[in-house]
């Protein structure tokens, strides 16, 4: 998957750690529940969520996720951004709702 295609198709704004996105993307996971992501996501997944809570960074780091896409035009707070930088977690935002972000990513990864 091409990062530029991803940015264009999902109207992404990269908030932190663009360089970490060169990690191989294995798929995606959509959830707003941290326990669900801890239990069911896989290494290299892009995580789509509307959560902006600080704990999302720890979850992404622990699970070895490729990055987080925050949907619905929500912006993470400064402490979240700082933690993402410290843990080298890629955080991106999109104005799209989760369903469409997932749908577009699904088509990209399916290609």
């Amino acid at each position: 998957m091409n990062l530029q295609d991803l940015i264009k198709d999902l109207s992404l704004e990269i908030v932190t750690c663009e360089e970490s996105m060169n990690n191989e993307v294995t798929g995606a996971y959509v959830s707003d529940l941290l326990s669900d992501v801890m239990a069911n996501s896989n290494v290299g997944n892009i995580w789509i969520t509307l959560q902006t809570h600080l704990n999302i960074i720890a979850v992404a780091d622990m699970k070895g996720l490729a990055g987080i896409i925050i949907v619905g035009n929500r912006k993470p707070a400064e402490d979240v951004i700082e933690k993402a930088r410290a843990e080298k977690v890629t955080v991106m935002t999109t104005p799209l709702p989760a369903f469409e972000a997932a749908g577009k990513l699904y088509q990209l990864l399916d290609r």
Partner: protein, 116 residues
């Protein structure tokens, strides 16, 4: 998109109100956070979620959601099913995760809910 067709695309079973499987669904909303459901303009929408408690049905009713798909093979308890029956909201259960369920439906042309 007719609900029956959605069930087919998601390889889902209809676990409540199957008699309403001919309803027309205009858009979809994928969320576990119920306020997101209340935020978007969701009349005649489908909710894709992993939560199965009764307050999910209540949220759907308030928001005008017409049907709910539970992902990851989640099965609601009797209380949730009873409430859905009372409100005539058909419930589906699919083994796909929220990502795959959303991807499959979007690919077949179902749009997302609009920001109102």
């Amino acid at each position: 998109m007719i609900l029956k067709e959605i069930a087919k695309i998601l390889e889902a079973s209809i676990i409540a109100n199957p008699e309403n499987s001919e309803i027309d669904i205009h858009s979809a909303c994928s969320a576990d956070m119920m306020s997101a459901v209340l935020y978007y303009h969701t009349p005649n929408s489908l909710l894709i979620t992993s939560l199965t408690q009764p307050h999910v049905i209540r949220t759907a009713e308030i928001a005008g959601i017409k049907s709910i798909v539970f992902v990851l093979d989640k099965k609601p308890d009797k209380e949730t099913i009873d409430l859905a029956q009372k409100k005539k909201i058909p419930l589906l259960s699919t083994s796909f995760c929220m990502y795959t369920a959303s991807g499959r439906l979007f690919k077949e042309g179902l749009p997302g809910c609009l920001d109102k």
